[in-house]
Symmetry: C2
Subunit: 343 residues, 2 copies
């Protein structure tokens, strides 16, 4: 499994993971995973939105399906575990379980990082499973701080995003007096600082400008146009709405805060406790396909794996310990087996 | 001449001029100009740094040379007159004058916009002319305000430039609390606003961040690295040093404030007055190849042509009236002829 993680990591080239959604590198990762699924005897299907599903048929054809999985796209210069861990741990777990009462499937959702595209499309189009259980790295510092290899996710933060455009007037950087300028980058810089100040005003909320492009971009030309992304997150709808209002933007994408299913949380907690492991409950600051499926009425759960290096993610420095990953596969397999064989 | 201006303007494609220094489009503009020079009977030479010179040999082989000209590169999405006017007005003027005592040359300097590369190289390598007289659009609002078609430049502002890099720590936009972040774009935004505030503190000074790039540039990744350009300008060395110190950067390029030659200024003023035109004296907020040559000991002058549309430049909206351009060629030819035939 660790070798396969490295193989997927190497696909896009560069110092970090580079597999943007719907690009060649994501497709190559899907193709490689499909080969592994087939070698494991699973029935592979690509749905009309490009999501990859690999099924092990259950004994009871009338029962619903249980899915596990994640995504294989990445942010630019990302880490090796984000998404990939959930797909490969899911495959490993399904192989260990073998045939169960319900059909088990490993799913690879398309284009998660830029807006959960694949899982959103699947929720629109259906059909959907009974339960979706996703293993994922925490991408934060909490499990490391409390000394727990794994954690049970209680819910996923709400997220609002938009692309904003600031207009100014181009002009020569030497001949246009400061007083008469309309510099789009000055306005955008004020927005960047304003968004940060607004997020600091609400507990457990964050706001990020991750992308910013200046046009025309000449050293001696006053910026005429700046395009930037704003990403705001909050643990509940009330705070999300208040944060978006304080920053002052019209979201083009909103992902509702999504609680995880109580029964799935209980199964995960029990599996951890049976192994003598701590079972910390924690929220997810990152959006996940599990949040989208939960919004679509699917009972969902998430198992977080401790992130090392202070929880850094979306960076080549992203790290999780092989021992923690082994525990994750073990707990995931047991939990899935219980859910797949439940009456 | 106006047709040739449009022909050069069309070379790079897009809504504005797009001929970055040392790119294909600049080269095609040089090639086109070389053809026109040859058709006019001038002897064309490309110097080792890529500057184009077109000479009409003088009667006195022992006398120095008189140059006129400008540049054919452009900023991204720039205007049709910047640089091109000086080259084509120079050709027109030399054709009108014909053979004089001193050799006359039209020069096209390389890569002016990004750092006066061609004229700097020429000053290093030599040989240099006796007098350089450059016609250029004002790129500012003063001549329009005072109602004068042409103006005599007294000197060129000093300029300091650098590329600055701000480092932060990449991380997931959802899972990294605001308090623990090191966001390179937040630091860069503070710098953009600080540079503006600093420039507002010194009379007749300007500072511009025209280029800014964010890495890795993902919507949900905290910016790890921001690279930006800073361009600061002041009318004299004292204010330039104070401005650079107030902004707080180490210039990688400094262009000294450059006074224009008194005698050349007098010739231009006389030619304007003889035609019953106002002869306003004004400083240049933009850097020019004439400033570089003046720094290299060449007697220099500049004739500014009124910019319409409030003086907008480095934009497709850049405009100068054909009547003003005709007057410019007339005054340039007379002034060059006097300088070329002076004892």
């Amino acid at each position: 499994m660790l070798e396969r993680i490295e193989e997927i990591f190497a696909i896009g080239g560069g110092p970090g993971a580079n597999r943007p959604g719907f690009g060649d590198a994501e497709q190559r990762a899907h193709d490689r995973a499909a080969t592994w699924f087939e070698e494991a005897g699973l029935a592979v299907e690509v749905d009309p939105d490009g999501n990859l599903l690999a099924r092990l048929a259950g004994e009871d054809p009338g029962a619903g399906e249980i899915w596990t999985g994640s995504h294989l796209d990445s942010v630019p210069n990302g880490g090796r575990f984000d998404g990939v861990l959930g797909v490969l741990a899911g495959l490993e777990a399904v192989q260990r379980i073998g045939r169960a009462r319900r059909t088990l499937a490993v799913v690879v959702f398309r284009d998660e990082e830029r807006g959960l595209t694949g899982s959103r499309a699947r929720v629109q189009r259906g059909p959907l499973p009974e339960v979706y259980l996703e293993a994922h790295i925490e991408q934060g510092p909490i499990l490391e701080r409390v000394g727990a290899p794994l954690g049970v996710v209680t819910g996923i933060v709400g997220l609002a995003r938009a692309e904003l455009v600031f207009h100014g007037a181009a002009g020569h950087a030497g001949t246009t007096p400061m007083e008469g300028r309309r510099d789009a980058l000055v306005t955008a810089a004020e927005f960047v600082l304003h968004a940060r100040a607004a997020a600091l005003g609400f507990p457990d909320c964050v706001a990020t400008v991750g992308r910013l492009e200046v046009e025309p971009g000449g050293e001696n030309v006053i910026p005429e146009r700046v395009t930037l992304s704003i990403d705001a997150r909050a643990p509940d709808r009330e705070r999300l709405d208040a944060l978006v209002a304080a920053i002052g933007f019209e979201p083009s994408l909103v992902s509702e805060p999504a609680p995880m299913d109580e029964r799935v949380q209980a199964v995960l907690r029990e599996e951890l406790e049976q192994r003598g492991l701590p079972a910390p409950a924690l929220g997810s600051g990152a959006g996940h396909d599990a949040g989208v499926l939960a919004g679509g009425g699917v009972r969902c759960g998430m198992l977080f794996v401790r992130s090392g290096a202070g929880g850094v993610s979306h960076s080549p420095d992203e790290w999780s310990d092989p021992d923690d990953i082994a525990l994750c596969v073990d707990v995931l397999a047991s939990a899935l087996e219980r859910l797949a064989n439940a009456p």
